[in-house]
């Protein structure tokens, strides 16, 4: 697979080993991946296949034991924690399976967070607009524990898209939601992505959700292969 200068994300020879009681355990090995601007990629695999670890490495939330990731043309391996954070600020969005809203912050404040970190002007107005976009106009001042699971995930969607990122990582975004609520969230996620032209790396075990992406990759045993 060749590397193009326009790719938002390129992984080459990416590997991750951890020390276990019975010696080193290889979770990922020799992963090659490239994501073009606006492209949606689904990573499919059973539980424990290393999907989330891969996502963490691609996003720079963890460091690989071998290989490198280039994000927006910049090598993550050459950056320290701070450099990686600065690279993400305002350009990378996240949606987690367990929502990961800051408990003490209201819905509005949670959405304002990445905007302020990226030092965007009009953070409040932008955040309000993003929440209205996901249908939470009436929930602006609610704290996370005052919201249902579906509502929390919609706040997370608003938070992910508010800074208008070039790249979005989603880790089993419907994993904690019932079927219908999950569908609604996925609808909104793909709707927003289409509007903004955001590249997406989606980790899921749901074939139907993966089917909406441009490319599907499978992850048996720490290796990545093109799905049919």
């Amino acid at each position: 697979m060749g590397t193009t200068s326009e790719s938002v994300l390129v992984a080459s020879g990416l590997g991750r080993r951890v020390a276990g009681p019975a010696g080193d355990l290889t979770i990922l090995d020799g992963i090659e991946l490239e994501v073009a601007p606006g492209e949606a990629i689904a990573v499919l695999g059973p539980s424990g296949s290393g999907k989330s670890t891969l996502l963490g490495l691609l996003a720079g939330l963890d460091a690989p034991t071998s290989g490198d990731v280039r994000m927006f043309g910049q090598s993550l391996g050459a950056l320290d924690e701070d450099g990686r954070a600065a690279l993400r600020a305002g350009r990378v969005g996240f949606v987690f399976q367990s929502f990961q809203l800051v408990p003490g912050l209201s819905a509005l404040e949670n959405v304002m967070l990445p905007l302020e970190l990226a030092e965007r002007k009009q953070a409040r107005a932008t955040a309000r607009g993003a929440l209205e976009r996901v249908g939470l106009r009436a929930r602006l001042d609610h704290l996370p524990n005052q919201l249902s699971g579906g509502e929390q995930q919609r706040v997370a969607l608003a938070r992910a898209f508010a800074p208008d990122p070039a790249l979005l990582f989603a880790d089993e975004p419907t994993g904690n939601l019932d079927g219908r609520t999950g569908e609604a969230v996925i609808e909104q996620l793909f709707g927003l992505r289409a509007e903004r032209g955001t590249a997406l790396v989606l980790v899921t075990h749901d074939e139907a959700v993966a089917g909406r992406c441009d490319r599907r990759l499978r992850m048996p045993d720490g290796l990545l292969e093109q799905a049919a």
């Binding site: 939330l61 963890d62 990961q100 209201s106 404040e109 967070l113 970190l117």
Partner: protein, 829 residues
């Protein structure tokens, strides 16, 4: 099931931060208590033994008649050493000189505690000698050499026997007590008593039995003696010794107790914070257990059992630490006590472990109980946490535990009251401040969610944990401030209690005509007398017209006061160091011409004298009557001249008076004093240097002991700070990881954490400074009865140190969190 479950969890528990803080806090609390338990036991005994030198024994039994022989036998049966002496007044004649003296005939072995010092020249410092004068020899009061015109080596007739004068009595350990009543001393061996022929049935003789030995034996003998003492017998123990010594001992005890109890209160706060955080951490496991069908009782039972096992282990370690600590203290200052300290008993082991468990239950039970109420729904929705414990229940149970510990430790309800009041006050202050803080910073919400404002607003977002941290920081800072500033001030005040140049000599019997000349002579010798006061000998004969008889009083001292002359003075002006506690001083001229008395509060209590009573004194054969116009509190520890009774000048205008003064005599002034005494033979000099230096010695030892025990308080304060920083760690961990994921730089994360801790620290420091000032005042003024001086550095140190120190501690405690890789946190590893 519970036990097996709890024991299985134990090795894992010990790796959990909160459990470590809990164990550490208990180790320190129990360590402090048992170190004080082990050590102060030994120190107090040693100090008491030191104080016994002022009695010349551990106990002195005094009677007008010879004591029945079974008293001596009983003492010997208890394995105690004994000695005896008799005292009586006698007139000595040498050539053409005659002098009223107080004879003391002492048996072999006298004194049982302390040493007599004998000099070869009058007013010399002398050397310590063992035992009584040899038969046929006599030691004379230094005053007598000039008055009787004799020298060491001369022969002196006492009654029908001739004695050889072998020394000047420089120091008589048990001479304290009624300093001014003593005629010059003449001391010889009791074996010579019969040969003098001075004792007849009509003689005014006082018989004394001295006993000394092991503490238990002394206590045993004392209770036997108390049961067998009839009317005339008076028993004096260490506690009845000189008041300045008693107050020095008492203060040392109060200080040690306070230091230990403060350590326990602080450690208790750390226990509460740690158990609170631990039970929060256990919420998941509890929800699961409940989900699988465990009852609330099983859940709470298992948790309490684990806490109990850890607490027991920590308490045992604490006792061991306490034992080691007291050994260190003995090594450090043991030499000051002269003899080896008596060994500690095993009792502190049990009281130490019990104290550890009381601390755990008192501070940890309420926070632990919240585990019962964890919603089972938590297995599905993690945001459903354990409910917060009731603050009222927490504080109530904790205070009960503190009260129990203080009473167990010091048995002192007054101190317990002050500590409890102080704790409640500080908690109220901290609680109020936490509420105010959350309200004020709450206004910052929404203005911004990153940077220092985010940090400040965090305080309002987590009101409960902010309050817990503020209380923790406040208590920790309070301990540090008390140690850094108030301790020094209080100990200084204590040392100042006997200032370096406190009067060490009294000069009495100065004739009115000689006052100016004596003053001039003292000043020539570079001595600055405290002032000259008139003194009239008078006996209280009636209160409100009713005759006063010694038999009216139960108390030995009151009885003595009622049967003897005591010193009455007159004065126009009120002395600033005498505090009027009731009534008015005769400040206006009209009152000065009335017949009025001012009475010292202690003697007024003992003799039952009240404001407005009419007192009649017999002065030189004349009855003088006046009204009590005020009651005065006198600081007897000051070594200044003070009087039980002071009259208006008009009351005593016809009474024959001599004058008295006190002053600090530098060591090199001995010759000048001796000359002065020779030129004014009526003048009597009393040297109290020995008592002064003994009091100083005890204060010095006490100060060291207290500083050592305060080390534990310091440790406990630091542990509270650690516990408070840790308490919000889990919440912060996720928040920091999220912010990092969303692109926050390390600097920004630090500024958020710093803003939060800085605000908490400054506020906690301010409150701690207020608390420390109040505590300092309460301890100094109320408990120790010393003047308190406010130290303005408290506030600078409190606020500045609080903001700086807590920020630093917070940044250090969260350093790892800021550098942690966010993925691990977000995945819940």
């Amino acid at each position: 099931m519970r036990l097996a479950f709890a024991l299985r969890a134990l090795p894992r528990d010990l790796r959990v931060r909160e459990m470590r803080v809990l164990a550490l806090a208990l180790v320190v609390a129990v360590g402090a208590l048992s170190a004080v338990g082990f050590f102060s036991d030994r120190v107090e005994h040693a100090m008491e033994r030191r104080a016994t030198t002022l009695l010349g024994a551990d106990l002195v039994i005094e009677d007008h008649d010879p004591l029945p022989p079974d008293w001596g036998r009983e003492a010997e049966r208890e394995g105690l050493r004994t000695a005896t002496y008799v005292t009586f007044p006698n007139v000595l004649v040498a050539g053409e000189h005659t002098e009223l003296v107080s004879v003391k005939a002492v048996s072999e072995g006298y004194p049982l505690r302390g040493r007599v010092r004998v000099a070869q020249v009058p007013y010399g410092r002398g050397e310590a000698v063992a035992g009584a004068p040899r038969p046929g020899t006599v030691w004379l009061d230094p005053r007598l050499f000039a008055r009787l015109d004799v020298a060491v080596g001369d022969t002196l007739a006492i009654g029908r026997k001739d004695f050889r004068i072998v020394g000047s009595l420089a120091h008589e350990p048990d001479r304290a007590g009624s300093l001014f009543q003593l005629a010059p001393r003449v001391m010889f061996n009791r074996a010579d008593l019969d040969a003098t022929g001075l004792i007849s049935p009509a003689s005014r003789v006082h018989h004394h039995l001295l006993v000394a030995g092991a503490d238990a034996a002394v206590r045993g003998f004392r209770s036997w003696a108390d049961a067998h003492a009839d009317g005339g017998i008076e028993i004096q123990g260490v506690q009845d010794a000189r008041p300045e010594m008693r107050s020095a001992l008492e203060r040392a005890r109060v200080f040690l107790g306070l230091a230990a109890v403060m350590a326990v209160v602080l450690a208790g706060a750390a226990v509460a914070v740690a158990v609170h955080a631990f039970s929060g951490r256990e919420a998941d496991a509890s929800a699961l257990l409940r989900c699988f069908g465990a009852s609330q009782r099983v859940v709470i039972g298992a948790l309490l059992l684990r806490l109990l096992v850890v607490a027991l282990g920590a308490s045992l370690v604490g006792v061991a630490l306490g034992w080691v600590a007291q050994q260190g203290l003995v090594a450090l200052i043991g030499a000051w006590f002269g003899d080896a300290l008596p060994g500690p008993s095993l009792l502190p082991v049990f009281t130490g472990v019990a104290a550890g468990l009381v601390t755990l239950v008192g501070f940890g039970l309420v926070p632990a109980m919240r585990i019962r109420r964890v919603p089972v729904m938590r297995v599905l929705r993690r945001d459903q946490g354990a409910p917060e414990p009731s603050a009222v229940a927490l504080i109530g149970v904790a205070l009960a535990a503190v009260a129990l510990l203080i009473l167990g430790q010091a048995g002192d309800p007054e101190m317990a009251g002050w500590v409890l009041l102080g704790t409640i006050g500080i908690l109220a202050l901290l609680g109020g401040a936490a509420w105010g803080l959350v309200r004020v910073v709450g206004r910052l919400r929404g203005h911004s969610v990153t940077g220092w404002r985010f940090g400040l607003a965090n305080l309002a977002r987590r009101p409960r944990s902010s309050a817990v941290q503020l209380v923790g920081f406040g208590l920790g800072m309070l301990a540090l401030l008390l140690l850094a500033v108030v301790r020094v001030d209080v100990l200084d005040a204590w040392q100042q209690d006997v200032p370096e140049h406190a009067p060490n000599q009294f000069m009495i019997n100065v004739q009115p005509a000689d006052v100016d000349a004596v003053r001039a002579r003292l000043e020539d010798a570079d001595i600055d007398p405290e002032g000259f006061y008139p003194m009239v000998r008078g006996r209280l004969v009636a209160i409100d017209g009713e005759a006063v008889a010694p038999s009216d009083y139960e108390d030995g001292r009151a009885r003595r006061l009622a049967e003897r002359d005591f010193n009455v003075s007159w004065a126009r002006k009120h002395r600033a160091d005498n505090e009027i506690v009731a009534g008015q001083w005769w400040s206006d001229a009209a009152n000065r011409d009335k017949q009025l008395f001012s009475v010292e509060t202690g003697i007024a209590d003992e003799l039952g004298i009240e404001l407005g009573d009419r007192l009649t004194f017999r002065v030189a054969g004349q009855d003088v009557t006046g009204t009590v116009s005020n009651l005065r509190r006198v600081d007897w520890d000051s070594f200044k001249v003070n009087f039980f009774v002071i009259a208006t000048p008009a009351t005593l205008k016809d009474a024959p008076a001599t004058w008295i003064t006190s002053y600090w005599a530098p060591p090199e002034s001995g010759a000048a004093i001796a000359h002065l005494v020779r030129d004014f033979p009526g003048v009597t000099v009393l040297d109290v240097e020995e008592i002064l230096s003994q009091v100083r010695g005890i204060i010095h030892q006490g100060t060291r002991a207290v500083e050592y025990v305060f080390g534990f308080t310091l440790l406990a304060g630091v542990i509270v700070l650690i516990a408070a920083v840790q308490s919000s760690r889990d919440e912060r961990r996720i928040e920091i990881a999220l912010l990092r994921t969303l692109g926050a730089s390390r600097r920004r994360l630090r500024s958020i954490v710093a803003a939060e801790f800085c605000a908490l620290g400054a506020l906690a420091g301010l409150i701690a400074a207020v608390g420390a000032a109040l505590t300092g005042w309460a301890v100094t003024d109320r408990v120790l009865d010393l003047p308190y001086h406010f130290n303005p550095w408290l506030f600078a140190l409190g606020i500045g140190g609080g903001a700086g120190g807590i920020t630093l501690a917070g940044l250090l405690a969260t350093r790892r969190l800021i550098t942690e890789r966010p993925l691990a946190v977000l995945r819940g590893d």
